[in-house]
């Protein structure tokens, strides 16, 4: 196969692709037959096939979202997507067993190296399937379960059946229904009572084919008094036509437990990233979404925390970067159901070269949820006149005795700031990078060091690439 025209801008270093050597690749478009076929290939239990088919019906009935960038959304051609691509026979525990070319891709992305250095477990997904999976032996001994979602369905059907789709029902929205029908891959994590997973677990999602649809499904449950930090990263080759990534992520934090979920999304600029992420936090539990959106064509993602038990805490800390042709429609939702719950949202966005960022948020306080504290802050940085940023905050406060703070700022990269830095010898792009790095610092400092360095480097590349 001749290499395709590579439209990757020179600064997107993950834009390469492999020659395809899949075991199975569905034709374009989604049908009931395909879902039956993939369920059969996966050797799934009957209840899962039923779940899928019912979700497919829901998907077909659901309208497209009426908010966000509806013009870009309407360009998404559902008939031009390969919904299931199976790169290998099964999930391997040893990198040497992973097909050579797939393994090489992950080598290039630095995954095995990161695993050796600072991760307690890794899931590596290529196209529709988890091709590699590992977890440190001592975690297994403590009863921590970390598996590809497909394996979890077979090995822990009772837990999966009990919780899957309870936080995000298939009928929640069109893309949640789509994912529920055609999901493949993703992670399953269960952390037993009072168990602390000190080192992060990571999943890495890679799309290789053109017009690929990736629909991973992730479910994380922390039992009472336990905690875990899960990190996900994503990249794809740059093609001239679109791919679709539509994940569903459900988190369940039992009383007194804590989940931190970190995402560094760096899809190529031809990927639609339409993701539903939601958590429930019971009494005194904490859920933190650390959400970085650098890549993709259009992202629509609003991580949510339902604060169900007294003393529960939710936090969303996010950054979005939109360059030329990109729209990051990101945000957060905090639902205070129980009294004395707290939530914090800090959203930072950077737009340049005509890029567009939106903050879309919901803060909801139920009647009776007294003594809640909620704080929302959105800062947008515009790098030039052509770029755009919008804020759509919604507040539904149904209880008197609460403390709510909201602040939004939009700043243009100032001529005076630039002059100050340039008068100290810094060239235009060095000065811009410095201002941007400073702007995202509150986000970066929450990342493990290796990711912080990588993110700063990424942002620098974005700055350099666009000045030319």
């Amino acid at each position: 196969m001749a290499p395709k025209t590579n439209l990757a801008p020179k600064d997107y270093k993950y834009g390469f692709h492999d020659v395809e050597s899949n075991i199975f690749k569905s034709g374009k478009g989604l049908t009931k037959e395909l879902i039956q076929q993939m369920s059969h290939m996966k050797n799934e239990p009957e209840w899962m096939l039923k779940f899928r088919l019912k979700s497919l019906e829901t998907y077909e009935k659901k309208p497209m979202p009426a908010f966000g960038n509806t013009a870009l959304l309407s360009e998404l051609d559902f008939q031009n997507i390969h919904y299931y691509v199976r790169p290998s026979e099964k999930t391997e525990k040893n990198w040497d067993e992973v097909p050579e070319q797939v393994k090489n891709t992950f080598e290039k992305l630095g995954i095995p190296e990161a695993e050796r250095k600072f991760l307690a477990g890794v899931t590596a997904q290529y196209e529709s399937e988890v091709v590699y999976h590992s977890i440190q032996a001592d975690l297994t001994k403590q009863g921590v379960i970390f598996l590809g979602m497909d394996d979890a369905v077979k090995q822990y059907p009772d837990i999966v059946k009990k919780y899957l789709g309870t936080v995000i029902p298939p009928g929640d929205n069109k893309f949640a229904a789509l994912n529920s029908a055609v999901w493949s891959g993703g992670s399953f994590i269960y952390v037993p009572k009072n168990t602390h997973v000190e080192i992060p677990l990571q999943a890495y999602f890679r799309i290789n084919s053109e017009n690929m649809g990736q629909f991973e499904r992730t479910l994380i449950i922390t039992d009472e008094g336990s905690d875990v930090h899960y990190i996900e990263g994503c990249t794809a080759p740059t093609y001239s036509s679109d791919s679709l990534h539509s994940a569903v992520v459900e988190l369940i934090a039992m009383p007194g437990s804590k989940i931190r979920y970190t995402t560094i999304q760096n899809w190529s600029n031809n990927v639609y990233n339409l993701v539903t992420k939601r958590a429930v936090a019971y009494q005194d539990a904490a859920v933190e979404w650390i959400d970085g959106n650098i890549g993709s064509k259009l992202t629509m993602k609003y991580p949510a925390v339902y604060l169900m038990g007294k003393g529960a805490r939710g936090e969303v800390l996010s950054i979005a970067y939109a360059g030329k042709g990109q729209h990051q429609d990101a945000g957060a939702k905090m639902i205070h159901v129980a009294p004395h719950t707290t939530s914090t949202i800090l959203s930072k966005s950077i737009s340049r070269d005509g890029g567009r960022t939106s903050y879309r948020g919901l803060l909801h306080v139920e009647k009776g949820a007294e003594g809640c504290k909620a704080n929302v802050r959105c800062d947008a940085l515009l790098m030039d006149e052509a770029s755009r940023s919008d804020t759509y905050p919604t507040m539904e406060i149904n209880e008197q005795n609460v403390s709510v703070g909201h602040e939004a700022t939009v700043s243009k990269i100032g001529e005076e700031q630039m002059f100050y830095l340039r008068s100290r010898g810094l060239k235009e792009q060095e000065a811009q990078s410095l201002i941007v790095n400073g702007f995202i610092e509150p986000f970066v400092r929450e990342l493990p060091m290796e990711y912080a360095i990588e993110l700063n480097r990424l942002m620098q590349l974005e700055m350099e690439g666009s000045i030319g």
């Binding site: 001529e415 700031q417 002059f419 008068s423 410095l434 400073g438």
Partner: protein
């Protein structure tokens, strides 16, 4: 003495948003000299400092700015910085999230045109901070964020000491400081004097000249230097205000 000339400004006209501000400034600064430029509000003092540093908002419409024998008026601010010009800002800007130490190292590297190992830089920074009696914690703070007026000005002088420019322009470094902070900053400026360096001290008030001794004092008004003299001129301005100089130079200003 002509080879000791560091900066020669000739017939400098400059405007901002199409409005002429400088209307023919002539000024020569030699190495080792400290020149004070005084003048009432709106006389063009800050415009002069911004134009010398290369602020993109200001347009030079006529004249020359010759620095070390080269007309620099088309160079960008960063190019001028690398040639050895420094401007201590009247209102230094905050850059949130950027630690002082990181910024200073980038700046020193940019101006010197070479990489400086982090340990070596830290030692240099510590030494200068000690010299200026600045506490260690300062270097970990974000640029000018939450700084007091005095801290901002001292941060500017710290940069001056690190960057070792040949021409230092201090734009109202004395403004907004109480007398104790003023003494400290003036003392810092005195420490930055060198036979290799020319200093342009731009000020509205005479009081800083009690602590920093300039070689020449100029009065800028209406976009021109209308009078130059020694220390006694500053005292006269302090006692009588600017009106008499303006009257004396009335034909020139008009």
């Amino acid at each position: 003495m002509e080879d000791n000339v560091l900066l020669k400004i000739e017939g400098l006209h400059a405007s901002v948003d199409g409005k002429p501000i400088l209307k023919g400034v002539d000024l020569t600064v030699r190495r080792g000299e400290v020149h004070a430029i005084m003048g009432p509000n709106g006389s063009g003092k800050s415009t002069l400092s911004n134009v010398l540093m290369g602020h993109p908002k200001y347009e030079v419409t006529a004249g020359q700015i010759v620095f070390k024998g080269e007309d620099i008026k088309t160079l960008s601010a960063d190019q001028r910085a690398r040639k050895g010009i420094f401007l201590a800002f009247q209102y230094p800007l905050a850059i949130p999230g950027v630690p002082v130490a990181k910024f200073l190292r980038m700046s020193v590297q940019a101006v010197r045109g070479k990489e400086i190992p982090i340990i070596e830089f830290r030692n240099q920074l510590k030494e200068k901070m000690k010299l200026l009696e600045i506490t260690d914690a300062f270097s970990g703070r974000y640029i000018n964020e939450g700084f007091s007026g005095g801290e901002k000005k001292r941060h500017e002088i710290l940069q001056l000491c690190l960057l070792q420019p040949e021409l230092a322009i201090l734009d109202e470094t004395d403004s907004g400081l109480d007398i104790d902070a003023l003494k400290v900053v003036a003392n810092d400026i005195e420490k930055s004097r060198s036979p290799e360096r020319g200093i342009l001290l731009i000020t509205h008030y005479q009081r800083i000249l009690n602590y920093v001794q300039p070689d020449v004092i100029h009065v800028l008004a209406g976009g021109k230097i209308i009078k130059s003299g020694g220390k006694e001129l500053a005292q006269e301005l302090e006692n009588k205000g600017y009106d008499w100089v303006l009257k004396e130079a009335a034909p020139a200003v008009a």
